[in-house]
């Protein structure tokens, strides 16, 4: 099986990064690969909040009593991660980890976990989350999941993977296109658009048992599903009446309520986290721009004004920011807009970015882009300073969405 590789590219100043000594854990021979601190280190680097200190050639403590703080203070470490792994049966391990304050010489966090070999990566993500939460004071997202569509030859695969792109599992496979996956708020279901019936139809599929239902298969095209924050309804784009218009429907396909009307395109709905607003893309002003309206329809206000192509809105978990794609000079890039001040910032430096989606803690944005002619997934921190690429050999990835 091909393994996804994570390329981390740090741009801009590193002034605010916390210098962290991540010391390889003492582990028994035959432990699962890779070493835990490798996974933890990739997670923490991806967050853009840490600068990992070179630990090679220095002492390798595994226990607080072994730490020579002068060594690590000289290297500029503000925090130290140490740990040990013990084998407790053929495929069962005990992992002990501690996060130490290198300046105060005190323990900030400690954790002991018994895990199976198949939970190795999840354990590493749990440790990364603990370090992140203790030092940054924000919920970690390393144990969350993402979904995306991969094109393999003529086949389309809807996949669910760990947030770092590892452990991809195919949940739908089709010879016809799949687009626009969306996790339900609790993460147990995925809505998506499948073309298997020779037209776009919106399905909702259970991640538990794989059962699914066509929730929008009206005459014409059915697309762009977006879950209401309470998980009870979907905003969708339907063409059953006239043009591409926004509707909300119940999960059983009933209770269809139309939100927009007119001859223009209205699509790509995105709910505000409080459920009050729906952001969407419309060409009502001549070029595609992002607009906002109350979630039950009504007064529409334009949100984007720069340029003539702003599409694919995604709301941040706190509802204060909007990420979207802007075309400027033929390049499609990820933009972050503060909704209170309308100030915008270009987050990426590529040319074919699509489908931005926020991490559950609002600190990272996952998006699709092209690299070497293939579709790859990228992450960028909301300050735009740290970007990573998830690349898997032979894959052509697109349409990412970040789940809980």
């Amino acid at each position: 099986m091909s393994r996804a590789a994570l390329e981390i590219e740090v741009t801009g100043g590193a002034a605010n990064r916390i210098p962290l000594a991540l010391i390889p854990f003492q582990s028994p021979v035959g432990r699962p690969d890779p070493e835990l601190t490798e996974i933890i280190g990739q997670d923490l680097q991806r967050s853009g909040e840490f600068r990992l200190i070179d630990t090679q050639g220095s002492q390798q403590p595994h226990d607080p009593a072994q730490i020579d703080y002068r060594v690590w203070n000289e290297k500029g470490a503000e925090a130290i991660v140490i740990g040990q792994v013990f084998r407790i049966s053929a495929s069962q391990y005990e992992i002990r980890f501690r996060l130490m304050d290198a300046v105060r010489k005190t323990q900030l966090a400690g954790l002991s976990m018994n895990v199976g070999a198949d939970q190795w990566r999840a354990a590493a993500h749990k440790i990364a989350d603990t370090v992140y939460e203790k030092l940054i004071g924000v919920q970690g997202i390393f144990n969350t999941r993402i979904a995306y569509v991969n094109k393999r030859g003529r086949q389309f695969e809807l996949k669910v993977a760990d947030a770092d792109g590892q452990n991809p599992q195919t949940i739908v496979r089709s010879f016809e296109p799949l687009i626009s996956p969306a996790f339900s708020p609790e993460g147990g279901r995925i809505a998506y658009v499948s073309f298997e019936d020779k037209k776009p139809v919106v399905y909702v599929q259970s991640l538990r048992d794989g059962s699914r239902r066509a929730v929008a298969a009206f005459k014409g095209s059915n697309s762009a599903p977006a879950w209401s924050p309470d998980g009870s309804r979907l905003a969708v784009t339907l063409t059953k009446d006239q043009g591409s218009q926004l509707y909300v429907i119940n999960l059983n396909g009933g209770g269809v309520a139309r939100l927009t009307s007119g001859g223009a395109i209205d699509t790509e709905p995105a709910w505000s986290p409080d459920g009050q607003w729906i952001y969407f893309t419309s060409d009502r002003g001549g070029s595609p721009q992002i607009y906002r309206m109350p979630a039950d329809g009504g007064d529409v206000k334009r949100v984007t004004f720069d340029g003539d192509y702003n599409v694919s809105p995604a709301t941040s978990p706190d509802g204060k920011q909007l990420a979207y794609i802007q075309r400027e000079g033929g390049r499609f890039r990820v933009i972050l807009q503060d909704l209170a001040t309308s100030q915008t910032r270009v987050l990426t430096d590529s040319a074919h970015d699509e489908s931005p989606t926020f991490a559950p803690n609002g600190k990272l944005i996952l998006y699709a882009t092209l690299h070497g002619g293939r579709g790859v997934l990228g992450t960028v921190t909301v300050d735009g300073r740290t970007r990573t690429r998830l690349t898997e050999s032979g894959s052509d990835a697109r349409e990412p969405v970040w789940g809980p």
Partner: protein
Amino acid sequence: MNRFLLSLLVMAGLAGCETLGLNDKTASIEDRTAPPPVASTASAQSGATVTPQGAATGRPGVETAGLGGTSVDRQIVEAKSLDGKTSAGPDPRKDPASPLSKRSIYFDFDSFTVKDEYRSIIEAHASYMMQNPQSRVILQGNADSRGSREYNLALGQKRSDVVRRVMTLLGVQDERLEAISFGEEKPRALGDTEADYAENRRTDIVYSDE
């Protein structure tokens, strides 16, 4: 815990697909999506084939010839079926000489109006549908690959909707037409030259019995 659920989910997910016959179904239908090579060639060089009907339809600006052509065509079909060569007779929609074999309506960049040169093709199909009351058509809109997939789906829909509107204005009942979009998902031209983009900005006329 997570892992366990995931492995369950994958097994169940794949099983679900098989139950639904997703792969089989799509494989068998796949061929129908791509218009027959004859149709696409003909549409790419509209006006090149010279027949009484074809010449009239293919040339820009001759708008009514297609309608006349179709009715003549139908008489020929009936005559041929009397020959006893085939039991049902050749399908005029498959006759390269007929405007009915032309299935693609092309659009300019960022445009959603039917150009004059394609009007006669739509008229021929509208006429055929009115003479064949059981016929139903799916209009498949497409867009080039630049930008948002969902927005491109809506652009493709604009291109199928306008053909649907023209056909209903010509007298075809709306219930017999379905305008859908493939957006940028099923490109006929895979490159990223201007010519490729132009090839993908189109609506295909597909009969449900084909």
